[in-house]
Every structure is written in structure tokens, then in C-alpha cells.
């Protein structure tokens, strides 16, 4: 196939129509292609030029030009009307028919610039380069691709429909639950109040009784009690202090902190506190033992958890006990070098050192050196720290957490995965404890009624078993109430979110998508937050902000601060796909991340129709003459 035919192919239909010429004549036309006056014009636009008038208007109305000025390689119309087939007008557009492939409009600057832009080669006709016609092959590929895309859209659209139905059901359910919970809350509140009053009465009576009974021993006993209390308090204070110290460096203790203010939580579970403290000690010890560079590295990792960027940056300076930046005198030569370099890089110098060595793959080794034991701990820290709601759910939460963690670990090999985030535990929890058990409230009501009726207030001494029952009922009921209240609050929070025009993003709530890229693991939890993890280091890329670009973009903003840069942020482009998958995470600008998320939610019907239309067009354009030429 001679390349010059490529031009021909686009011309053939017209030429055949107009002249019924033989191939030999066509060949001569291609040698001086501008003899064909309508080059670069789209078929639907040809009638504009094929006028019987002597003069043609520039489309912008600025001028008129003669037919001989059409495609004469001199720009008469500033808008390019007279030069669709040459590069003479900067504003011009060149149409290539690309039979068998998509037709294309090119900037006129691409005409005869020595680069083959049209697959039919029609943009290069001055003989300086030869452009083979690749439309058939490329078109086939493109059609196949398009077909695949259409298939994806079709399947995806079905999935989407399903999702939407599910979402609507679930939303109704959520709303129903909320209403129900609110009713229950009301009733339970009343009960708890009654129980509380009764309990207080009992306690009053008991107190009276005890005062009388134990009058003689009172002083001694009280003294003893006081002593005990004091010791306890002192112990607690020590713990507290330790924790406060860590507070600034280590967020791992956050869950323990929550245990303290969580009235429902199992206070006896202080072993957790202990564990955390011990682990931190270990970490600190490791830090002490390592050599200076490792020291910085692991320090960063130890500190990283709560990820205040500030703390990370603080690792910038080698721990030399120097007097600070303004006075560089205490620094070694190398430290000074790193410090000065960091002005330009804005990176911490420890990291830079790592980078410098990274080429050798040193950093991989470093990962190996990380204490394995702290890893699990860290996952816990992550989960409880990132999900405030969870903290209201005592021990069940820990169990769930473990399960989630296990899922994590199993998924680690995948480059992308999704899982339910912790907030799903709320659902499960409530399902089992509340909704699936419709009669529990009645039971409680009955029990309470019975108790209240049975307990004789004025009986002395106080009936201990009755008193215990009241207390037990009170404790249980207020625990329930508090659960219900937090459930109400989380449900109402949830329902405030924007789940898309058709609620197609409902299922994203409480889920996370994970993608592994080189040494980083990215976690994207819509409606919550997104983070980047490298070993122990967790960097928050952003908190959920909103959808943009008509639900084609998810925005996470106000992530961890970048040194010398903006707060981190992440934008996720959504596209149609059969599975929810995050991919192609990128940092085009420092600390401004981009990613792609494939999801059926984006498999829109109108887009599908568009694609089908495109394919129809392509199929129509398939040159029957392909074989003839």
C-alpha cells in the first residue's frame, strides 16, 4: 500500500461521487491535493462551501472570500473559514475522516507539520513525510475497546440500578430505625429516670441504715477507705502522667483516654493502658539503641501515629542537642549539609538521607527492620483513632476491630481492595441488639414495672436483693439508653450525607477502598477520610469534603499539613467500572493527591447511549471500499 493512498482514502467517496475517476487520476490528485478544494472539511459542513455564490462568508462575518481563495494556503478569514485544509490560519480546524476509525478535528497547526496525526494520513500531503493509513487496524482496536467499554457500562449500569434499589431500601430502613430508636429513647429515658429516682431513694435509705449500723466503726473504716483511695489515686496519677507525656508523641494512647471518659466502658480493662505504655517504652528503648540514622527513622515511625505533621517535621533535625537553627554551630558538617539542603527541599533531613540511600534499596531493608510487634498495635490505634463513634461502643468494638484488621492483613497483597470500615460495626451491633429483638423494650418495661411495684421503699433494713435488682436494671437500662443515643446520633450523621442524586453512593458509606502503590498503602474511606500509609507512618491525605463536578469527583481536604506547603488534599476522579477500585494514586503537585476510583455508580445510562452512538457511527463509517483499495 503506497502511503499516498492514505490521502486518497478520505477523498475517494467524494471523488467517486463527483468524477467517477480511475485510480490513476486519483493518484495525480493526491500529488497536488489542494486541487481537491474541500480538504479538511467535515461532510456535514461541505454544503457551506458548495454554494453557487461567487463569494463565501467567513463564518465570523468579518469578510468574504472567493472560491479560489478556499484552501489556497493564505489566511483570509481570521477564524480560518477559508483554510480548513491548510495550516495558514491559526484558528482553523482540519477534519480528517479516518474511515474505519473515529473522525477527528485537528488544530490547523498540525497540517503538514511532518507528524502523522490522522490515521488516514490526510493531514500530511506536502510530500515531506509519508503517513501510512492505519485507520483500519487502529479502528479495529478502538472499536474493540469501545465495545468492551460498552459492555462494562451495560453490566455496570445494572449493578448501579441494583445499588440504587438497595440504597433506597437501606435508607428507608435507616429512617425507620431512626424513628423507632427515637421512640424507644423516649420511653427508655422515662424508665431510666424512674429507676434512677428509685435507686437514689434506696441509696438514701441504705446510707441511713449504714450510718446507724456502723456508727462505732465509722471513723476507723472511713480512715481506712481514705487511705485506700489515696493510694489508688496516686497510682492513677502516675499512669496519667505517663500518658500525658506520650500524648504529644504518641496517639496510641488515645483509645485508653477514651476509656476514661467512657462511662459505660469496662474500667477494669486497664490492661490495655498498660500494654500501650509498655509498647511505647519498648519503642523508646529501641530508639535509644539504634544508630543515629535509624534512630530518626524509627522515631518518626513511633511518633507518626497521630501524624501531626508538626511532629514528623520535628524529626528533621538530627538529635544532637543543638541550639537550634539560628545557631548552626553545634551541628556536625553532615548535619549542617542536610539542614541547608532542607531549605530547598522542605523535606525533613532524615527523610532526605533516606532518599539519598534509597537508590540502593536501603529503605526496603529499613522496613524489614521495623519491629513487627508494633504493627498490630498500630492498626488498633488507627482504627480507634479514626472512628470516634466507635469509642462509644465498648468491648464489642474491639472484637470488630480485630476482624477488620484480619481482613486488612489478608488483603495486603492485593494492589487494590475494599472493605467495610469500622462504622459498619455500628450497623451490625444495632442489628443484633436492637432491631432483631423487637420485644426487648416491652420486657424491660415490664421488668421495671414489676420491680418498682415490688420494692418496698419504706422497709428497713433495705431488701438487698431488691436493691441489687434496681441497681442492675438501672445500669442495664442506662447502658442501653446510651447505646441508643449514640446510634441515633450516628444514624442522623449518616443520613445528613450527600449520597448522590439517586443515592447511588449510599453503599460507600462506611466502606474503605485500599490501593497499594510501591511502598505506600492508600486508604480511601468516602464520607470519612483518606490516608497514606508507609510502614508505621500514617499520613492523612484529607477529611471527606464533598462531591464536585456533578458527582464525578470526590474531594478530601484538610489533611495533614505539609511542611512549606499546603494542607494535604486528595481528589478522586470517578469512572465507570464493575468493581469499586482505587487506582493510579498520584501527587501531581506537592501534597495535592489525585486518584481514580472505578465504580458502577458512574456507569450512567446517558453515557452508555453516547458510547453506543459512537460505535454505531464507527460501524457505519467502516469503509466498504477498504478491500477495493
Amino acid at each position: 500500500m503506497k502511503p499516498s493512498f492514505s490521502v486518497l482514502r478520505s477523498l475517494v467517496p467524494y471523488l467517486c461521487l463527483l468524477f467517477m475517476v480511475s485510480p490513476i487520476v486519483i493518484r495525480s490528485v493526491s500529488a497536488a491535493p489542494l486541487e481537491y478544494p474541500f480538504l479538511g472539511i467535515a461532510p456535514e459542513d461541505e454544503k457551506y462551501y458548495k454554494t453557487s455564490a461567487d463569494l463565501i462568508n467567513c463564518k465570523d462575518g468579518s469578510k468574504k472570500f472567493t472560491k479560489s481563495q478556499l484552501n489556497d494556503d493564505f489566511c483570509d478569514c481570521p477564524d480560518g473559514t477559508d483554510e480548513p485544509g491548510t495550516s495558514a490560519c491559526p484558528a482553523g480546524k482540519f477534519y480528517c475522516r479516518n474511515a474505519g476509525h473515529f473522525s477527528l478535528f485537528l488544530f490547523s497547526s498540525r497540517v503538514n507539520d511532518g507528524i502523522c496525526d490522522c490515521c488516514d494520513g490526510s493531514d500530511e500531503y506536502d510530500g515531506k513525510v509519508k503517513c501510512p493509513n492505519t485507520c483500519w487496524e487502529a479502528g479495529k482496536l478502538a472499536r474493540d475497546k469501545l465495545k468492551k467499554k460498552i459492555a462494562t457500562y451495560q453490566e455496570g449500569a445494572a449493578l448501579r440500578e441494583h445499588e440504587i434499589e438497595q440504597a433506597k431500601l437501606a435508607l428507608t430502613k435507616d429512617e425507620a430505625e431512626l424513628t423507632k430508636l427515637k421512640d424507644e429513647e423516649k420511653i427508655l429515658k422515662g424508665l431510666v429516670q424512674q429507676l434512677k429516682e428509685r435507686k437514689e431513694e434506696i441509696e438514701k435509705a441504705e446510707e441511713k441504715e449504714r450510718l446507724q449500723k456502723e456508727k462505732e466503726e465509722k471513723e476507723r473504716k472511713e480512715a481506712e477507705e481514705k487511705l485506700n483511695k489515696k493510694e489508688n489515686k496516686a497510682e492513677q496519677e502516675v499512669d496519667q502522667e505517663i500518658r500525658e507525656d506520650e500524648d504529644k508523641t504518641d496517639s496510641e494512647e488515645k483509645p485508653t483516654e477514651s476509656l476514661h471518659y467512657n462511662g459505660v466502658g469496662p474500667l477494669e480493662d486497664s490492661s490495655l493502658v498498660q500494654d500501650v505504655v509498655e509498647d511505647t517504652d519498648e519503642l523508646a528503648a529501641e530508639v535509644e539503641n539504634g544508630d543515629s540514622s535509624e534512630n530518626e527513622g524509627s522515631m518518626v515511625n513511633g511518633v507518626e501515629q497521630s501524624a501531626a505533621e508538626a511532629k514528623k517535621e520535628s524529626a528533621v533535625i538530627p538529635d544532637s542537642g543543638s541550639k537550634g537553627i539560628e545557631n548552626t554551630e553545634g551541628l556536625s558538617k553532615e548535619e549542617l549539609g542536610r539542614l541547608v539542603a532542607s531549605r530547598w527541599t522542605g523535606e525533613n533531613t532524615a527523610k532526605q538521607a533516606e532518599q539519598v540511600d534509597a537508590a540502593k534499596g536501603d529503605d526496603h531493608e529499613e522496613h524489614e527492620e521495623m519491629p513487627r510487634g508494633t504493627h498490630d498495635e498500630e492498626d488498633d490505634g488507627y482504627a480507634s483513632e479514626t472512628d470516634n463513634d466507635n469509642q462509644k461502643y465498648d468491648e464489642d468494638n474491639d472484637d470488630m476491630e480485630d476482624e477488620v484488621d484480619e481482613d486488612f492483613r489478608e488483603d495486603h497483597d492485593d494492589s487494590s481492595s475494599s472493605y467495610k470500615s469500622d462504622s459498619d460495626t455500628e450497623l451490625d451491633l444495632s442489628d443484633t441488639t436492637t432491631l432483631s429483638n423487637p420485644s426487648w423494650l416491652e420486657k424491660i418495661q415490664n421488668t421495671v414495672h414489676n420491680i418498682l411495684r415490688a420494692v418496698n421503699l419504706f422497709q428497713t433494713p433495705v431488701n438487698q436483693s431488691e436493691a441489687a435488682q434496681v441497681r442492675k436494671e438501672f445500669d442495664e437500662s442506662s447502658a442501653k439508653l446510651s447505646k441508643i443515643q449514640s446510634r441515633i446520633s450516628s444514624l442522623s450523621q449518616k443520613l445528613k450525607h450527600d449520597f448522590g442524586p439517586e443515592k447511588e453512593f449510599y453503599s460507600f458509606y462506611g466502606r474503605c477502598f485500599e490501593s497499594k502503590q510501591n511502598k505506600y498503602v492508600y486508604k480511601v474511606c468516602p464520607y470519612k477520610q483518606a490516608s497514606q500509609e508507609e510502614g508505621h507512618t500514617i499520613t492523612r491525605l484529607g477529611q471527606w469534603d464533598k462531591f464536585e463536578d456533578s458527582y464525578r469527583l470526590m474531594v478530601f481536604s484538610n489533611g495533614d499539613k505539609c511542611w512549606n506547603g499546603p494542607d494535604r488534599s486528595l481528589k478522586i476522579k470517578l469512572r465507570c467500572g464493575l468493581k469499586n477500585e482505587v487506582a493510579d494514586i498520584d501527587e501531581p503537585s506537592r501534597c495535592e493527591y489525585m486518584a481514580l476510583l472505578s465504580t458502577p455508580a458512574l456507569c450512567l445510562d446517558e453515557k452508555l447511549k453516547e458510547l453506543q452512538h459512537k460505535l454505531d457511527l464507527m460501524n457505519k463509517e467502516q469503509p466498504q471500499r477498504h478491500d477495493e483499495l
Binding site: 478569514c77 507528524i115 539560628e326 549539609g337
Partner: protein, 926 residues
């Protein structure tokens, strides 16, 4: 627990301090001021008239005037040291160049030979030497002793006054002085001495100590420029074009202009402190006489004072032309006096005279004169491909994509990070397929890593600069612990050049060119962020002696490497940050790490103009500003100005937001595209100007006074500048500017480049400013060649037809030139080019050949035609035109001045003359 707490406190403290840095930016205290620099402090404390040297034994020897400089009280010296006489040599060269050398007498056995900077003066210069036969003696009015006088050039004489010693150039008949040295008796020369017992020569600054094994060895003297309104030059400083006084009553600056190549983090926009480069060349200009110049070839740290009027009121010394004389004071830490006086008298004469010493600027490759896209860093091949394709998508041309340090394997230059750039050749080939080029960075700090072959080889061969104790100098830079090849040594330069062969630089292709950064050299943990002064180079030269030229040699070696790589057939392109006198022979320079601030946009103009005046026509500032995030308006204004920089590159720090042209909304994309398009249409004009620079030394962009030397109103104007002799550009340097005052010099009128509207010359116009463009004008009487078709890159424009824009002057005449060659090889040196002068007069436009008769074997031919001729300022409109010789008639009609902004006023346009630029022809307007 405790240690952790301590760490924590430290962390927090350091965090705060770090934060402090980013706010403080420029760290003045890290750099020495004059008072902290002993030689500067000593020299500045000297009083006028303190020099007691006399010239004795004045004779002619080897065609030069030689003399001995002795202290007046030599015989009765109370000084403990025996004072040896200094040797003085005066040499004369063609075209009005006087050279003065003063050094210690080698026959008297000084402890060491003082350093003379090699390889800066071009070998051809010696051919210009005038062999003196005769010397005349004269006792000038009021003198007690004689002066020796020699003929220097037409109308000029060089005078050596014996007592007190003084050298000057004067006009023949009138006797008016032009330039003089030591007229205020401030000359001082500290001879090398052997260190005596118990003498303390060490010098400390901050935590660094300089051993100074040869003791103080500085030189200082005063230079006076007569009939001068202003002095200019001595880059590189971020300061005004006309140099403000640094000493004297009520001056603004207290520091002298410092010439010491330094990597200054976030340099400020108005300061005499030294930054990346040094050219000890000063130009004076005055309305009454014209221009003269003074160049001191010396690579040691230099400090130069420009004296304010009345600085010497108490000295009792009285010199001619008191009012229009500008005195300057030059101080250098080491070296010798090797000074050149240039008589002018025109600005272009002085530049040419200077270039006869240091060499003409290299002719750049065509692509290098187009637009460059850079960022620290385009991260990987995908990023490169994406940015590249976005330019096409937005129909914005660009020619070169740059990769900063992160593309390497751990900052080991000549390597690639194979994770990010697994297929460098393919990546470059993809760009090359669109006519585009790539530039990668190669810095002088070599990573001290035994597995890195460049380091291994350099270590083995002993090619590194040594520290004071003779070991390989080890400093900290991007690559961590690093050493620096000793570029003073030609053998090492040659070895370095070989690193650029395709065989050694794996992953490089013929479309790859080089960027030399950090070559001051930057040493993060060195004194003032550079190499210690007592480090040792080839031939036991101390770093203090050659510091300012280190980057120059590095640039030279790299450029030679690219020439070698291309087997002498491909012009090199190497961008350097450090610069010195002569850098123009090796490539382009830029003004370093500027900031995204309006003040930095503003100061870029005097900086680029000053570089041009001192021989470096190929320079520019980072468009957008390196540090910080420019507001879209600033970015757009920067593109609009940057499109006229000789070197047009956008660059950004890696902490900044992405700022490729399409990221700021459609309107801003359009404005930036327009600005870049203007540059591309003017590439034929720019390339012609680069050729002019290459042959005459006249810079591409020029201060107004270079074109209008007798118009005082232009002398200190550095808001506007000339591109060649035809276009005047004025930047917009403020936010939301609504009006601009533009002074248009000369008696001829000016045509708005964009609209064709005419403005009277010789006055200031208050113009309404739009966001579309910055004010730019074509001078009446000029012809500008353009290419109006847009392509992806300049490479694809090669065969595109030309447009000639003719702006007629009041006598309906105009002239302009066009230079075209193959854009890349050295064949033009053998005559393979087209050079035309277009002359319009008496209603006839003629193309005159300026190229030599094509007798050579090398020829350059082109089929390229002129598709359009535009006439501005005609008094009567021609109806048609006749191409003589072929007798072909062509149409004349009305058309747009710019096709892309077509709907403005229509201008007279010759439609499709179709004449070839290679041919002689005449067009007659009927």
C-alpha cells in the same frame, strides 16, 4: 520515658525554628559583609592619596610599555619587610583596548606565582595586539614629573603618569580623560610573604576557619569614568540597571557590590550582595561623550564600590570633570591586576571591544530560543508524557522539557531512577518525534559512593578538588557527601566532557541537552554555602583565587562534552547558573532561584539587561518565579514579559502548586498561550538577533540607551527594554494595573505591536493596560520577520512561510534583517546560511544578500517563501505590488496584523507574494 521527653522538647523547639526559617528566607547572617571580610574592611578604610607608588624604568619591551612600581620612600622605608617593586605592563590592542597588568616580579622570587585566570581571554585576542615602537614623554600641567604617552586608537591615547603612578586614557586633541586608574591614590597591592614565626593568619567566619597559608594578598584601586552619567554592569546582583552609589554622603547602600558566586537561598530583589555569578566588567555612559568600559580579569572574591558624589570631599584631590565623573573602587582578595580599558565611544563599541577579549557569544540551536518547560520535578515518564500531551491538547507550543535532580538514581548524575524513568531513550524519542528536546540536570557535586563509577574513576585518577590538607574535598550537597571535579585542569575537563558520550551517559540520546546547576559551587556545609577558600586546585591554585570561575570551567567542560558527543557537528546547549566573564561562549544562563513576587518580575529586567551588557545575551529569569505560588495574574504577566527574555523558561520549586499553562482556567490558559505564541511568531527575529550577538556581541535585549545613547531620559530606565533595535517592551509589574506610563524614545513614531496604533516618539505615553498583553511597540523604520503559523514546536516551523512587518518611518523607509541557517550544526561558520537585509525606500522593497559570496563548500538552501507583507505607517496606500524580475503582480488588501487576534483594525497586506527568502528580489508598490 525521659529521653523521649527530651527529644520531644527538642523536636518542638526545632520545629518552631524551622518554621522560622521559611518565614525569614534570606539568611543574611550566613554571608559575610564587607566588615566581616578583612580585605574589604582594610581596603575601604584606606584614605585617598595613600598610595605612594611611582612608575620607574618606563621602557618599551616586546611591543609593550613596561615599568616598575616602587614606593616613593623606597630608599628610606621604615617597613620591616623588604618591599619588592611590582612589574607593570601596558599593552595596546586594536579597536581601542588598553590592557594593564601589574604583578609581583617573578625574578625576585615571590613565595608562589599569583593566579592568572586562564582560558577566559580568547586566543584570537593576541592577534589584535599593537606592537609599540615609540613612546613619548610629556609633563602634564601642574605635574612635577613626566608622563609616558602612547597612541591607543584613532583619537585616543594611553597615559602612564609616573609620579604619582596613574594610568588613564584620554582623547587626543582635547586631552579630556575617558577612564583612569589610581587617580585617587587608593591603589594597594599586598605581596605574598612567607609566614613568619608566630604569625596568626587564619581567618574565621562563623564555624569555618580559613588557614590562609599565604597571608593577606589582596589588591585594590580606584577607577574613574569621565563624562559619565551612570555606570552599569558588574553582574550578578538583583538590583537596578544603573548602579546606585554604595559609598558617600547619603547613599542608600552601605555594602559594596559583591562579586562572589554564591547559592543564595531566596535572594532578595534589591541588594548589592553577590549571587550566582560574577563578571567584573563595568560600563559607563554619559550624554556628552558616550560609553567606556573597564574589565578586571580576576576570579577571586571582589567587592566594588560606586562612589556617590562628594565621597572624596576631604581628600584634597581635584580631578577634571568633577560633576559628571563617577569614581569606583575595586577590591579583590587575590590574583593580579589584569585590567582592560575600553574606549567606546558608543555602547555597542564597548560591548564589541569587551567581546574581543572574552569571545563572542555562541550561536544557540534554534530550538533553544523557543519556550522551555521545567519543574522540579517532572516525576516520571508518565508525568512527562502527560505534560507533553497537554501542551498539544491546549495547542500551546513548547520545545524543551526539563528534568531536575529527582530523575537521577540518588542524585548520581548521568544515571536514571529506573523506577521512575525505566525507558529514558524511548521517552526522549517520543519527544523528539514531535520535534521536541529534553534537558537533564548535571551538577558538579559527585556522590561519594564507591559503587558509582564517576566517583570511582575521579577518585582513582585524583580528579577532585583537594582540601587544605591535600585530601579529596568532601562537602555536602544534593547527593549527600560529595566531591567536586577540579575543572581548572584541562585534562579533567576533557575527562568530564567524555562523560556525555552516549556510551558513558547511558539513557541519553541526541535530543538530550544539559543543565548545570549548583556550580558556584554550592556546598551546603561549606563557608557561605560554598567551597572553603583554602581548598586546592590544579597547580596549587587556592580556591580563593579562582572561586568565581569554577562554574565557568564546569560550564565549559560540559559544553565541550556535548560538542564531542555530536562529533563537532551539533551545537551544544548547556544552561548554567554560575557565570563568569566568557560564559557567553559556552551557553545560556539564568538568574537562579527567584521568587513568585511582583518585585522579582520587576528586577528580572535589569538583571537580564545587565547580563546582556556584560556579554551574556542568552539569559532569562524563571517564568513564574521559582519559590512560592504566583497568583494567576502574576503568572500571566510573567509569561507576557518572559516571552521577550532571550532565554524563555518556566520553572518552579517542588513545594509549589503545579502551574503548567492550562491550570488556571480557560481565560488564563488563553492569555498564556497568546504570550507563548508571540514568542514563536518572533523566533525568526530572535534568531536573527542571536546571530547579531554572535558576530558583534550586541545583546539580544538591550537597555533603551544602547539604541538611543543621547537620550538622557532612557539612561536609568530599566522598566522597558529593546528587543533588537526594532521592538520596545515594557513589563507590567503591579497587580491589577490599569494604566502604564511608557517612554517611547527617538524622533520616529512607534506602532503598538498588537494593534498597529501609532504613537509619537520622544515622549511618555499614559496607556490603558489590558490583561491581554504588556505594552510592546515596533519602531518606525524597521522590518520584523515573523512566522505566523503555530506548530507544536519550533522544529516544525522550519519550512513555514514568513511574514514581514514593515513599519515605515517619516520618510517612508524601513530596514530589517533576517538570518536563517540549519538551526543546529556549525556549518554556518563556513558560510552555510541565508542572511538578508530588507530595505524599503522610494516605494521599493529590496532583499539584499549579506552572506558572503557562496564560494565555500558549505551552503544552506531553503525553499521557504514570504507569504505576507504588512505595511504600517504608509502615507498613501498602494493598490498592488509588482515583483520585479518575474514581473508578477500580487494583490494588496486589508488584513489583520495578527491572525490570532484578527478582529482588530485592518492593515495593508501584500497577499501571497510567494518570494523565496533565499533569492534577491525587489517589490515595487504601485
Amino acid at each position: 520515658m525521659k529521653p523521649q521527653m527530651r527529644n520531644l522538647n527538642l523536636f518542638l523547639f526545632l520545629l518552631l525554628s524551622l518554621h522560622f526559617i521559611s518565614v525569614l528566607s534570606w539568611k543574611r547572617e550566613e554571608f559575610r559583609n564587607c566588615n566581616q571580610t578583612p580585605f574589604c574592611k582594610r581596603a575601604r578604610a584606606r584614605k585617598p592619596g595613600s598610595c605612594s607608588l611611582l612608575a620607574r624604568h618606563v621602557i618599551i619591551s616586546d611591543g609593550d610599555v613596561t615599568a616598575k612600581l616602587l614606593p616613593k620612600n623606597h630608599e628610606t622605608s621604615e617597613d620591616h619587610h623588604e618591599i619588592n617593586p611590582l612589574l607593570l605592563t601596558l599593552s595596546l590592542y586594536q579597536d581601542g583596548v588598553l590592557r594593564l597588568k601589574i604583578d609581583e616580579d617573578p625574578s625576585l622570587g615571590p613565595p608562589k606565582k599569583r593566579f592568572e585566570v586562564p582560558d577566559v581571554i580568547v586566543p584570537e585576542f593576541s592577534n589584535n595586539k599593537l606592537w609599540l615602537q615609540r613612546i613619548s614623554t610629556e609633563t602634564i600641567d601642574g605635574d612635577t614629573g613626566p608622563s609616558s604617552i602612547v597612541h591607543l586608537a584613532d583619537g585616543y591615547e594611553a597615559v602612564l603618569r609616573h609620579d604619582p603612578f596613574e594610568v588613564y586614557v584620554r582623547e587626543k586633541g582635547s586631552g579630556n580623560r575617558v577612564i583612569s586608574l589610581n587617580s585617587h591614590g587608593l591603589f594597594d597591592f599586598e605581596p605574598l610573604t612567607a609566614k613568619g614565626e608566630g604569625e596568626e593568619w587564619e581567618e574565621s567566619f562563623r564555624e569555618n576557619t580559613d588557614t590562609r597559608p599565604y597571608g593577606p594578598q589582596s589588591i585594590s584601586f580606584d577607577v574613574s569614568f569621565y563624562a559619565a552619567d551612570f555606570v552599569y554592569g558588574i553582574p550578578e546582583h538583583a538590583t537596578s540597571l544603573a548602579l546606585k552609589p554604595t559609598r558617600g554622603p547619603g547613599v542608600e547602600y552601605s555594602e559594596p557590590y559583591r562579586l562572589f558566586n554564591l547559592d543564595v537561598f531566596e535572594y532578595i530583589h534589591d541588594s548589592p550582595f553577590g549571587i550566582y555569578g560574577s563578571i567584573p566588567f563595568m560600563i559607563s555612559h554619559g550624554k556628552s561623550r558616550g560609553t567606556s568600559g573597564f574589565f578586571w580579569l580576576n576570579a577571586a572574591e571582589m567587592q566594588i564600590d560606586v562612589m556617590g558624589a562628594g565621597w572624596d570631599a576631604d581628600s584634597g584631590i581635584s580631578l577634571p570633570s568633577e560633576k559628571t565623573r563617577i569614581d569606583t573602587f575595586w577590591m579583590s582578595e587575590a590574583g593580579i591586576v589584569d585590567a582592560f580599558f575600553f574606549v567606546g565611544p558608543g555602547p555597542k563599541d564597548v560591548v564589541r571591544q569587551y567581546m574581543s577579549v572574552t569571545g563572542m557569544p555562541a550561536m544557540p540551536q534554534l530550538f533553544a530560543t523557543a519556550y522551555h518547560q521545567c519543574r522540579w520535578n517532572y516525576r516520571d515518564e508518565e508525568d512527562v508524557e502527560d505534560v507533553d500531551s497537554k501542551f498539544d491538547e491546549h495547542n500551546i507550543p513548547y520545545d524543551v522539557l526539563w528534568l531536575d535532580i529527582e530523575h537521577t538514581d540518588g542524585k548520581r548524575y548521568f544515571t536514571w531512577d529506573r523506577m521512575l524513568f525505566p525507558h529514558p531513550e524511548e521517552m526522549q524519542r517520543k519527544l523528539a518525534a514531535k520535534g521536541r528536546h529534553m534537558v537533564t540536570i548535571v551538577d558538579p557535586h559527585i556522590k561519594r559512593d564507591d559503587s558509582y563509577n564517576v566517583h570511582k574513576e575521579a577518585t582513582k585518577k585524583g580528579y577532585y578538588v583537594k582540601d587544605a590538607s591535600g585530601n579529596d574535598f568532601d562537602g555536602w550537597c544534593w547527593s549527600g557527601s560529595s566531591s567536586y571535579p577540579d575543572m581548572l585542569n584541562p585534562e579533567i575537563r576533557s575527562w568530564w566532557a567524555d562523560r556525555f558520550s552516549f556510551e558513558h551517559y547511558v539513557g541519553s540520546t541526541p535530543s538530550l541537552y544539559i543543565w548545570n546547576d549548583m556550580n558556584e559551587p554550592s556546598v551546603f556545609n561549606g563557608p557561605e554555602l560554598t567551597m572553603p577558600r583554602d581548598a586546592l586546585h590544579y597547580g596549587d591554585v587556592e580556591h580563593r583565587e579562582l572561586h568565581n570561575a569554577y562554574g565557568y570551567y564546569f560550564h565549559m567542560a560540559t559544553a565541550n562534552g556535548l560538542v564531542k558527543r555530536g562529533e563537532g557537528k551539533d551545537r551544544p546547549f548547556v544552561l548554567s547558573r554560575a557565570l563568569f566573564a566568557g560564559s557567553q561562549r559556552h551557553g545560556a544562563v539564568w538568574t537562579g532561584d527567584n521568587s513568585a513576587e511582583w518585585d522579582h518580575l520587576r528586577v528580572s529586567v535589569p538583571m537580564v539587561l545587565t547580563l546582556g551588557l556584560t556579554g551574556l545575551p542568552f539569559s532569562g529569569a524563571d517564568v513564574g518565579g521559582f519559590f512560592g505560588n504566583p497568583e494567576p495574574e502574576l503568572l500571566v504577566r510573567w509569561y507576557q514579559l518572559g516571552a521577550y527574555y532571550p532565554f524563555f523558561r518556566a520553572h518552579a520549586h517542588h513545594d509549589t502548586k503545579r502551574r503548567e499553562p492550562w491550570l488556571f482556567g480557560e481565560r488564563n490558559t488563553e492569555l498564556i498561550r497568546d504570550a507563548i505564541h508571540v514568542r514563536y511568531t518572533l523566533i525568526p527575529y530572535f534568531y536573527t538577533l542571536f546571530r547579531e550577538a554572535n558576530t558583534s556581541g550586541v545583546p539580544v535585549v538591550r537597555p533603551l540607551w544602547m539604541e538611543f545613547p543621547s537620550e538622557e531620559a532612557t539612561f536609568s530606565n530599566d522598566e522597558a527594554f529593546m528587543v533588537g533595535n526594532s521592538i520596545l517592551v515594557q513589563g507590567i509589574y503591579t497587580e491589577r494595573a490599569k494604566v502604564a506610563s511608557v517612554y517611547l524614545p527617538g524622533r520616529q513614531s512607534w506602532y503598538d505591536l498588537r494593534t498597529g496604533t501609532s504613537y509619537r516618539g520622544g515622549m511618555t505615553h499614559k496607556l490603558t493596560v489590558s490583561e491581554d498583553t504588556i505594552p510592546a511597540f515596533q519602531r518606525a523604520g524597521t522590518i520584523i520577520p515573523r512566522k505566523d503559523r503555530f506548530r507544536r514546536s519550533s522544529t516544525q516551523m522550519v519550512n513555514d512561510p514568513f511574514t514581514l512587518v514593515i513599519a515605515l518611518n517619516s520618510s517612508q523607509a524601513a530596514e530589517g534583517e533576517l538570518y536563517v541557517d540549519d538551526g543546529k550544526s556549525f556549518e554556518f561558520e563556513h558560510g552555510a546560511y541565508i542572511h538578508r537585509r530588507f530595505v524599503l525606500s522610494d516605494g521599493k522593497l529590496t532583499s539584499v544578500n549579506l552572506a558572503p559570496a557562496s564560494s565555500g563548500k558549505s551552503r544552506f538552501s531553503s525553499e521557504t517563501v514570504i507569504e505576507r507583507i504588512i505595511l504600517l505607517g504608509h502615507t498613501h496606500s498602494p493598490k498592488s505590488a509588482l515583483i520585479e524580475v518575474t514581473n508578477q503582480k500580487v494583490d494588496i488588501g486589508l488584513g489583520p496584523l495578527w491572525l490570532q487576534w484578527g478582529r482588530g483594525s485592518a492593515v495593508v497586506t501584500v497577499r501571497k507574494p510567494g518570494i523565496r527568502i533565499a533569492d534577491d528580489w525587489t517589490i515595487k508598490f504601485l
